[in-house]
Structures are given as C-alpha cells and as structure tokens.
Symmetry: C2
Subunit: 496 residues, 2 copies
Amino acid sequence: MLLRVRAAVAQLAAGLGAGAGAQPPAEPRGGGAGAGSGASPPAAAFCRPAFLQLTPEELRRADDHTGRAVQSPRDGRRRLPWRTGYAEVINAGKSQHNEDQACCEVVFVERRPSPRGRLMSREGCGELDGGRKGFYFHYWALFDGHAGSGAAVMASEKLHVHICEQLRDLVDILQDPSPPPICLPHGPGDPTRVSVAEDDGEVPNDAVPRFHLEKAVSHESLVIGAIENAFKHMDDQIERERGAQHLAGGCCALAAIYLMGKFYVANAGDSRAIIIRNGEIIPMSREFTPETERQRLQFLALLRPELLGKEFTPLEFPRRIQPKELGKKMLYRDQNMNGWAYKKIEEDDLKFPLIYGEGKKARMMATIGVTRGLGDHDLKVFSSNIHIKPFLSCFPEVRVYDLTQYEHCPDDVLVLGTDGLWDVTNDKEVAGVVMEVLTSYEPNDPCRYTMVAQELVVRSRGVLKERGWRLANDKLGSGDDISVFVIPLGGPGNYT
Amino acid sequence: MLLRVRAAVAQLAAGLGAGAGAQPPAEPRGGGAGAGSGASPPAAAFCRPAFLQLTPEELRRADDHTGRAVQSPRDGRRRLPWRTGYAEVINAGKSQHNEDQACCEVVFVERRPSPRGRLMSREGCGELDGGRKGFYFHYWALFDGHAGSGAAVMASEKLHVHICEQLRDLVDILQDPSPPPICLPHGPGDPTRVSVAEDDGEVPNDAVPRFHLEKAVSHESLVIGAIENAFKHMDDQIERERGAQHLAGGCCALAAIYLMGKFYVANAGDSRAIIIRNGEIIPMSREFTPETERQRLQFLALLRPELLGKEFTPLEFPRRIQPKELGKKMLYRDQNMNGWAYKKIEEDDLKFPLIYGEGKKARMMATIGVTRGLGDHDLKVFSSNIHIKPFLSCFPEVRVYDLTQYEHCPDDVLVLGTDGLWDVTNDKEVAGVVMEVLTSYEPNDPCRYTMVAQELVVRSRGVLKERGWRLANDKLGSGDDISVFVIPLGGPGNYT
C-alpha cells in the first residue's frame, strides 16, 4: 500500500513531491491482543492478527522480508468459523512491517436495555444467551494500511464493535418480519418500536395530507445504514485517539458481515471481494481510487477551491503541462465530462492536476492512490499545508448477497483480498486457483479453504529468484503485503 | 412531462407547492421549420417535427387530445435515413400541445478552414463533397419538454448543429488512425495537428521528467467529449436567447449519433434507449431523476446550503415530519448513505426534504422530476426565489455501441422513446412488440420499422374507453406525449 501513497512525480515545479510515505510508521499493538479489547500500549514492534496465535518465534519469521513465509492458522489451534481459510505474507521490503491487518469474529448483538427499565416482550424476538435478547453476526475483515500501521491495527480491533453498536438499536426491528417503522417514539437509548398504526393514531388530523408518499424501507437497508455509520464512527474514533495512541497513517477496509441469511460486503478502498459460485464470478465490491472517483473529487474541488491551496487545478490533463505550452490547446476533462476535449492552456492550467496518472500510478494531489478508507487525518501534500482528508471518504459501498436464494455447494466461496493479491492475479485466475485446489481435497476436509488461501498468496507472491520475486510465467510477483480470506458459502456447519 | 414538474404535495407548511406547471407554455415554432434553420417567430400555435411534413389539416388532427391520432412519416414523402421508423402521439390533455419534439438528420461536418489559409493535406483524410474535407454523421434525437415547449423546439432545431460545431475541430484527428495528439500547437481556429514526436522535439530538455505518465486518449473519448460539450453549448444558447425567443420551460434530450461505425447514445433526462439484438435487450441509457441522482444533489446541497434558501433540508426522510414529532427518531439518509438509519428529529429536519417521493412521483425541491436536461433557466420553487437550475445538469451520459463488432440482421434495432412509452411498456414488452411486428413484414419492406414505432405508440397509448385510455390488459394507458424512433442496425442501405 505504501507504494500508492508516494509522490507521482519526482520533481514538481511547485515543490510538491514525495508523499506521506516518508512518515515514520506508528508503533503497532502487541502480537496477542484480542479483538474487541482496548488498544495495547505501543510496545511490540510487530503484530499479526490474534487468530493466528503466533508464538514469538513464529512472529519473527512472519516479519522476515527475505523469506516471506506464508502465515495461516495452524492445525490444532482454534479454527476460524465456517472453516474459513486465511493466509498472509509480508511485503518484499517496501515497509518495515506487514501493514495489512485481518479480523474474524462471531459477534453477539445484545439489545440495548431500555433506559426506563421496561423490556417489551414482542413476538418474533428470540430470547438468546441466557435470557438476553439479541442475535449473532459473523464478521471477516481486511485492513490494508499505508504510511504507518496504526489506523489498520485500531480498525481491525474496533470496526466490528462499532458495527455491533449500530445494530444494537435494531435488535427488535430486524427480528420483526413487518416493515421497519418510519418513526420511533423517543430519542437515543429507547429503541422500543411503535407500529405505524400506533404512530398514526398519535398525530391529530390536520390539513396537510400525510403519509401518502411514505417510502418503504427494508430491513436490508437498515443493516446497510448501520454498517455505513459504523465506518464513520470508526473513522471518528481514529481521529479522536490518534494522538494518545500514536496512530499513524490510514487504511483501506473491506468487511464481510453475515447476518440473517445475507452477506453484506462493505468496501472502502482498493481491496476486493468476489464470490465464486459454480465457477461463475460475482463481483462483490469495486475499488475507490482517484480514477474511479475522479468526478466526485473534481466536483468537490470545483465547489471548494480553497481546499486546493492554490497548488492544484481541478481539471484533468493527460500529462503535465510545460509553462512554455501556454496558449496551445491541450486535452482536458472536468467534473462533468467522461470524454476529452481540447482547451487553450491558461495560466491556471499550469498548476498540478488534482488527479494525475493512470492505473496503479494514479494519484490524488500527487500523494495518495486510494480515495476511501479510514484514518489519514493528518495526511498533507508533501511540504505544504494542504490537507488530503477532506477529499477522502470513510464511507463504504455495501453490496448484499442473499445466501438463501441459491443452494450452495462446498466449492462455492467468497474471496476477500488486499490489493497485493489482485494486482498480479485477476478474478479469473483466482477462480481458477480456487477450483483447482478445492477439487484436490475432500469436501469435508477442514483444511481445504486454508489451502486455497495459501495457494492464492503463494502464487501472487511468486518465488525468489535472482531478479526478485517471480511468478510462474516469470512476470514480477507482488512485492506488497498480501492477505486473503476464503469463506465457504456451502461448507459443512455454516450458518450456525 | 408536465406531470413531473408540478408540486409533490398540495399544501406545504413553508408555502411551497404547485410548481412550474403553472407557467404559460411558450409560443412554439411553425409547422414547417426545417432543422438547422433559425428559430421561427412565435406565431403558429402548434408544431411538429419537420420530417413529418404535415399539412395544416394534418397538423390540426395531430393536435387533437380526444382522438390522439398517431403520427408517422407518410408513404410517398421523404423517407427517413436507414428506413428509420418514427411515430408519435399527443398527450391526453395534460398540456395544451404535444411538448415532445424530434429530429432526424444526416449532418456533414466540414473541416474548419485554417486561419492561416493553409490546409494541410494528410493521409487518411478523404476529400469529400466537392473538395471539402469532412465526414458525415447520422443523428436521431427526442426532446421531451416540460413547462412550455420552447426549449424542446429550440433544442430539436439546434443540438445537432452544436454537435457538428464541436466535431469540426476534430475532422483531421478522427480520420487519422494514429492516437489523438495530447497537445495542439495553437489556439482556437487552428486545429492543425502536430504529432507527439514533433511536440516532443519542440520542448527543450529540462530537469522535470516528462510524458512518462502520459495518458492514452482514444478517438472515441474525443467524440464523447464533443457531444458532452455540445449539450453544454446548447444549454447556453437557450439561456442567452430565452428572452428574445420566448423560450419557456426545459426539456429532456436523448440523441443517437452514428459516426464511423459506432453509435453514441447521449441521454440527459428520463427518456430511454435500448438495443434489441437477436432478441436480447442491451440498455443504452439510464434515467436521471431525483432518485437516481440523489447523492449528487445532496452533496451539492451540503456544500452550497445557501442554494436551499432556508426552505429545504438536504437529508432524505421517508415521509414529511410533523412539527409535533420533534425529538422522536426517524429514518433518514444523507449524501454518503445508501442505507437508512434513525436520527433524532431536530428543528432543521422539519424543513421540506430536497428529494421527496418515490418512482414517478419523486421530486427535487417539490418541483421537478428530472435532474438533467436543457433549459429551465428561470425555473424556481413555487412562490419563492429559490432557483432550481443550479441542481440540474445539462450534461448527458454517453454510451457507445460499436456496430462493427457484431453482424446485425434486419430485425436488430435501436429504440429511442420518451417516458410516455416506458412508463407503461417495459423493455421486455417493447422487445416483444419489435419482434412480433418485424416478423410479420418482409425484411426488405421499407415500412416495417414505422409499423413497429406505430405499434409501440398505440399499445402505450391504449384505446379510449369510458374510463379513459386503457391498455389491452385494461390498465391505464399513457396520458403523456409519446414519441418513438426505431432505428434498424442491419437494415438494407445502412451505414451510407
């Protein structure tokens, strides 16, 4: 990820250049910190996901840029829910430690107690867990850090807690098959629902026609809203605590939540999720980069030109303009355009373009290659006082996959991967590896999804040769951190 | 279209209400005005597309809301290019005249003369039309007016002229198979191209690395840019001339341009284009409404709250909030959210929502149901000084279909229709009618595409019964103006 947060151009007329990559990485958490616990003191030099249960010796090996040993949960230790496969490998030296983080949890959402002390008993709401009312969700998430690992570590410890918090007010509503109520009677802390009929009855008859344009809101869209707001609260927490916790940098976040028969895949950044079902590829996310979000960024720059600090132009050009080209005509596009047109070059066009570069090299403000994620509150354009954060969004796009609409076989999986995977292995190749590996293991072999994850990581990393890490076709392997979850959709013991 | 530009709610607390529908319709052009000619004086009470060549008697019949006679180009008169089928019908009385307009032209794009008097001769550029250098494009367009027909009439006369103007600078570049140059040597009026090699040679060697991040721009994206800017110039012309020409209202615009083997379908509004190829439906546009553009509109409102005139809130709620509901929790979503969440109702939330209503009833600022199009420069929220135009975009989305990538049969067509068609007949039903009618005519019958267009209009209008216009299934037919082009993709004599 670090590669994507550095200057696009070595030397710029305006003194812009090498980006936040120059910042020292923050101190990350200790190796054994459990998810959901308070952040650990900044002591250990290196940490990996708690579920790997690495010994100090294993931790040292995982941190070795030369060997790049692939890490997976070990046989005989705690298995991940649903027999989920996981594998990861450190980068080839571009940052001191592995800046990816991962989390996998089963979370109980407990109904928030009524402040008035009365728990209404309603049909359809099960009494679970010794009289407590609530439900479980399954959670898998990858965090790809940049310019330090602090934001990624904190997000891996806390994001599911924020999701849980957002869902707590919805415990009754999500378990009731009737449509969610539009309006609840009182403020925070009292989610006791009131039916539409009751609500109607409360309001006196007046001249304004009411409710004839009432929009139906689904349970699904409440879960989406809860996840969206959880990302926002996570980002706010990083902002609040970044000083005290030495949280540097930012991270992409990709989370899959299984809840009541549906997968909710939330993505903010350039990680990716796909479902492979009966050999077919179903994309479950899209990437958010300066290229894919160009029009949103240009629109903001147009409306808030002060955010550009007189150093950038909101227009996009296919390359830098030389001062001596003033008066010539050059291709450009603005926030309204998808095509390109020629314009006469004016003084203002000589500023550095807000969006510049192509593909993996595309950068916003010559600094960052992803436009959604968590953290980055202190990120500035190099050697300037121009903040990057106003252009970044912490909100994910959430896609929904209904598991009950299709009978899944044990070879159907959801794959989550950081960009280290996808940069060198495309969707089709990933699907090929998945099918190839799964057919060589029995459907009830508990290790088969781990084997897939390992194979995906190994094939994307390549092997070390004289000219660096190389793939089977001798192309350059990924020098980035690589992390992969392989989640079976129809495996034995799922949905429990 | 008028129905979509009226108040969403009869009585609003803030005094907002009946929208621009109350404005008197502008005087439209005369019946025989040719496309590309100057706007006619505001004399004739009613006009239809020039290619229909209606007699005064026919014009009167076309204007009859009771009979709602379907209009098509007559046998024996000028046939439309490619044997294109066209049909239209007036609304059932919701506006005085048919506010739809249509245009179909073959346009020659002449290379703009060099201001320095030297015409460079280059390989690949044909000398056409008596020594002039240029190319032709085919053009079909529908304009669905609202709150007056002035904007639709002017756009139907001028949009293709603006597209032609934008393309004139590209005559050499589009006919040269090498990639378009990033930079041209001089200002407007001299499109003489310079190759990248020549350009490189002009610039002295300096310290800044150059062109290593040069983005490739395709010919296709230049055409898209030209069309996008043509829409903008059209909108500017309407703004400039609306006073002198009595141009009232606005219009949706849907245009299909065939150029060098490709269709460019540009849409701004809620008309729709689909291709039906071998029975398969390929969408060639999407609709721009308060619902589909909610996040763009909310984002603008958030950044420019002064545009809301203290009357509207940028948040969306599923229904109006009653003042007495203050302090309760209600579902909402903002510009970042796709899902819904509860929030405590505050004083500001009692304002009218920027976006309100659902489906065909969705309105922006309680006034307008489409968020892209031409015109509407004077449109204000009823009984207020709040302008609507800043929220509207005149830029189309342009989709490209490469005709050379597939061998088309005479039954493959591109269908363009205003919302009067699509409101009652979905894509699948349209495809069914297309296939049904075409199989009953010989492939070389010149009338077959007109027959399809007529059948589509008749089936969407329905027949007049006691309880109004009814479809075959007794559901309500479209009371809106309906206009349809059916363009064969593999018909005899195409691509000439």
